[in-house]
Amino acid sequence: MRHGVARFVTGFLALPVALYLFYVVWPFAQAAGYSLTDWGGYSDAQNFVGLDNYVRLLSDELIRKAFWHNVFFLVTVPLFTIALALFLAFLLNVGGREDRAGIRGVFGSALYKVIFFFPQVLSLVVIAVMWQQIYRTDQQGLINGLLIKIGLVDADNPIAFTADPEPFLGIPAVLWWLLLIAVWSGAGFYMVLFSAAMQSIPKDIYEAAILDGAGRFHTFFRVTLPLLRDTISVAWVYLGFIALDMYALVFVMTPSQGGPNHASEIFASVLNFTAFQKGQFGYACAMGVALAIFTILLAAVQLRITRRDRIEF
C-alpha cells in the first residue's frame, strides 16, 4: 500500500521536478560555468579564464560601493518594514480599548487593513511610476507642490529626492528616499501576515495579562512579540531577499540607473551594466554567482540564529 503511494507521488512529481531542473537549476549551473569565462554575451565564443572574474570582483571599486548600498538596504528594509508592520498589526488587532467583548483593534481597523494592504496589490513598476509623480522635483510634484505652497520649501530649490546624492546620516539621500518606497510597499503585506499570527494567539493569554495589570506596552513586548517570533523570523528572511534585490526601484526611480553619479548603485545595477552595456557577461555571471552565494549564506545564518523551541498553544 505504502509503496503504491510512493510510486504515485513520484510519478506525479516527475514532470515538475524535470521542469524545475531544466529551467531553474540548469541556468544556475550555466551561469556558474559562464562566470569562469570571458563570454561577451552575443556570440558562442568564449575563453576559460578560471577564477579571474572573481579576483577582479574583489578589487572592483564600483562593486564595493554597490555592496555597501545593498548592506544598507539589508539592514534598514527589514528593520523598518517589520517595525512598522508590527506596530500597525498591533493597533489593528489588540491595540483598541479592552472591554466586555474582549481584546480588539482600534476603531475602523477593518478599513485600515484594506488601505494598508493596498500597495501589495500593485506591481512594483506601477508603484515606481506612482512615486515618480509623488517625488517629482518641481512644483507639479505631490510633495514638492504641497510644501512649496505652504512655504516649507523654496520654489527655487525644491527637494530633489532620488536625484539627490548629498549624504544624510552618512548615506546618500537617494537611498533614504528609495527606502521609504520599499517600506511603504512592503509594510502592508507583513501587517496582514502579523495580524493573522496575532489572531491565532488565544485571547485568554491577553485577558490573563490584563488581569495581572499589564498595559499595552507590556502586552506587546511580553506577550505578542515572543509569540510572533517565528513569523517575524520568516518575514525577516524574505525582506532580506527584497533588500538584496531592490533592482526595479533603482532602475525606474534613479537617474542613469544607479545614479546620480553612482550614489544609488547596487549589486544588480552594476551587474546589469556590466552584462548589457559593457558586454562582459562572464564577469557579470561571476557577480550573479557571488550574490547568490551571499543570499543563501545569509538565509542560513538567519535561520540558524533564530532557531528556538516552538511554543504550542
Binding site: 558562442d44 565564443a45 517629482r136 514638492n144 538584496l244 542613469s256 545614479g259 553619479n261 559593457k278
Partner: protein
C-alpha cells in the same frame, strides 16, 4: 522517503523554508539575473541566394522569408510599414514578417548567437551595445550595401546618403550600422514668443548672458535641461568643446590620447556652462526629458537643447501658435570652429551574422534608403531621413529651421564617438555631465574627473580599444 500523514506536522514554515533554501529557491533575487546570463548552443543557418542583377544586387531568393524587427519609439513604426509596401512591390514573392517592439535588447539579444531576426533596428533605451556586437562578431559588415546601386536613383546607395552617415555606421574600418534617421541638435526656442517680446535669438554666449536677465524679468527661466538622462547635457557640453577647442581635440578625446581633456579650449568651452548654473539661469527641479520639454512648451523656460525628434515626440502637447525653432549651440567670439553643426545619423539597423536571410535583409535596407521610402519617413516622423532630399517636400517650422541650420553650417559636422566606443566612459561622462549641470562640479573638476576616467579605460586591458581617424 515520502511524506505521510503521520509526520506531516513536521512540515512547519521553518522546515519548509529550510528545504526550499536547500533547493536554491531562496536565491530568488539572483535567479532572474543569473538566468539572464544563460545562453544556448548555436544552430547552422542556411544561406545561398538567387542570381544577382542590378535590380537584385544581393540575389534575394524568391519564396524566401525575411524577418524585420522595428523599434517602435519616438518615431513610431508607420514609416516602416510604408517601406514594406515599397519592398513588396519589387519582390512580391518574398514574405516580409515585420514586428515592432520597444524592447530590442530583451527580445533580440538572446537570439543573436542562435537564430536571430534578419534585420534589427537596434535603437531606443533598450538597445544592444554596438561595440560588443561588433567585437563579438555578432553583426555583419554591410560594405557591399554601400556599393550596391541605389533603389530608385542614380549612383550607389552610398551616394544617396547624407554626410556623416557612412562614418557614423563604421567601426574598425568596416560599415556595420545603417542609420536611417538624421538628427540635428541645438537650442530650441519659441519664435512666436521671441517676436512678441522683441528678443533676438542669441548666437554667442555673450548674447545669451545679456538676454538672460530680460527673460528672467518675464518670470521665465532662461534654460531648462534633462537632469535625469546624462546624455542630454553631454551633447551640449561636447558640442561646446568641439566649437571652442576644435575638431582635433575631440578626436584626441575619442582616441583616449593622454591629456586630451586638458587640451587648450576644453576648460574654456565648459566655463560658460558653469556660469549658467552658478547664475541660477536654470529652471529649478531635476526634470527628465519629457518633463523638461513640457516645461519648455508651457513657457516656463526660454531655451532647451535637444535633437530634431523633439517635435514628433511632443506633438500631442504643443500649444497652438507655438513656433518650435532650432538654433545652433551658442559659441564664444574666438572659438576655433564656431559654425560647425552637431548633426548625425541615428536609429541604426543591423544585420546579425547568423541571420538566415541576409540577402533579403540588405535588400530591405535598400528599400528603406530609397527616395520614396525616405520621403515617407520625413513626412510621417517630421524628422529628416539619412537619405539626401528626404525633407524637401515637408512643410514644417521645426524641420525647416533644422534644414537652414544645416545649410549655414561650417565645413564639418560635430561628431563624438567615445560614448559608442567605451561603455564605462559613456556612463562616467553622463554622470559627470549631470554633476556639472547640478552645480556639484566646477568645470575644472569635470575636466579632471573625465581625464581620470579616460585614463582608467586606456589602462584597462579587458576593454578593446577603438580609434577614429576623421
Amino acid at each position: 522517503m515520502s511524506v505521510t500523514p503521520e509526520n506531516l506536522g513536521d512540515l512547519s514554515r521553518r522546515t519548509l523554508l529550510q528545504r526550499a533554501a536547500a533547493a536554491g529557491l531562496l536565491a530568488a533575487p539572483a535567479m532572474g539575473l543569473l538566468s539572464a546570463c544563460a545562453g544556448s548552443e548555436p544552430e547552422k543557418s542556411d544561406t545561398g541566394g538567387a542570381a544577382k542583377s542590378k535590380d537584385n544586387p544581393f540575389g534575394v531568393k524568391d519564396g524566401s522569408a525575411v524577418k524585420v524587427v522595428i523599434f517602435n519609439g519616438g518615431l513610431g513604426d508607420q514609416w516602416a510599414k510604408e517601406d514594406k509596401v515599397i519592398f513588396s512591390a519589387k519582390h512580391p514573392n518574398v514574405t516580409v514578417n515585420m514586428s515592432s517592439t520597444q524592447k530590442i535588447k530583451t527580445e533580440e539579444q538572446p537570439k543573436m548567437a542562435t537564430q536571430p531576426s534578419d534585420l534589427v533596428m537596434n535603437s531606443g533605451a533598450d538597445m544592444m551595445d554596438r561595440s560588443t556586437l561588433i567585437n563579438e562578431g555578432a553583426i555583419e559588415p554591410l560594405d557591399d550595401l554601400l556599393t550596391a546601386p541605389a533603389w530608385d536613383s542614380e549612383g550607389t546607395v552610398a551616394d544617396s546618403l547624407l554626410p556623416g552617415t557612412v562614418g557614423d555606421g563604421t567601426q574598425n574600418g568596416k560599415f556595420y550600422v545603417v542609420n536611417v534617421a538624421y538628427t540635428v541638435w541645438g537650442n530650441w526656442y519659441n519664435a512666436a514668443l521671441f517676436k512678441k517680446e522683441g528678443w533676438q535669438a542669441p548666437t554667442t554666449w555673450d548674447e545669451f548672458f545679456a538676454l538672460a536677465p530680460k527673460i528672467k524679468a518675464k518670470g521665465m527661466a532662461p534654460y531648462v535641461h534633462d537632469a535625469v538622462h546624462g546624455y542630454y547635457p553631454r551633447w551640449a557640453l561636447m558640442a561646446s568643446i568641439w566649437k571652442t577647442a576644435g575638431k582635433q581635440v575631440v578626436v584626441d578625446i575619442d582616441n583616449l590620447k593622454e591629456g586630451a581633456w586638458k587640451a587648450d579650449g576644453v576648460l574654456k568651452a565648459l566655463e560658460p556652462w558653469e556660469k549658467l548654473v552658478k547664475d541660477k539661469l536654470l529652471l529649478p527641479g531635476k526634470l527628465d526629458h519629457t518633463q523638461s520639454q513640457q516645461a519648455w512648451l508651457d513657457g516656463k523656460a526660454a531655451f532647451i537643447q535637444v535633437g530634431t525628434w523633439l517635435k514628433n515626440e511632443m506633438s500631442a502637447t504643443i500649444p497652438p501658435g507655438f513656433e518650435l525653432t532650432l538654433s545652433d549651440y551658442w559659441h564664444n567670439a574666438d572659438d576655433k570652429a564656431p559654425k560647425d553643426v552637431f548633426a548625425a545619423s541615428g536609429e541604426g539597423f543591423v544585420v546579425p551574422s547568423k541571420a538566415p536571410n541576409k540577402e533579403a535583409a540588405k535588400e530591405f535596407l535598400r528599400a528603406i534608403l530609397s527616395k520614396a521610402g525616405s520621403a515617407k519617413f520625413a513626412e510621417l516622423t517630421k524628422s529628416l531621413a539619412s537619405t539626401k532630399g528626404s525633407g524637401d517636400n515637408v512643410q514644417d517650422t521645426a524641420l525647416s529651421s533644422a534644414n537652414s541650420l544645416m545649410k549655414n553650417g561650417g565645413s564639418e559636422l560635430i561628431s563624438v564617438k567615445f560614448q559608442d566606443f567605451y561603455a564605462d566612459l559613456d556612463k562616467e561622462s553622463q554622470n559627470l555631465s549631470e554633476e556639472l549641470m547640478a552645480g556639484r562640479l566646477t568645470a575644472q573638476q569635470f575636466v579632471d574627473k573625465m581625464q581620470a576616467a579616460a585614463d582608467k579605460v586606456a589602462k584597462d586591458s579587458s576593454i578593446k580599444k577603438q580609434t577614429r581617424t576623421a
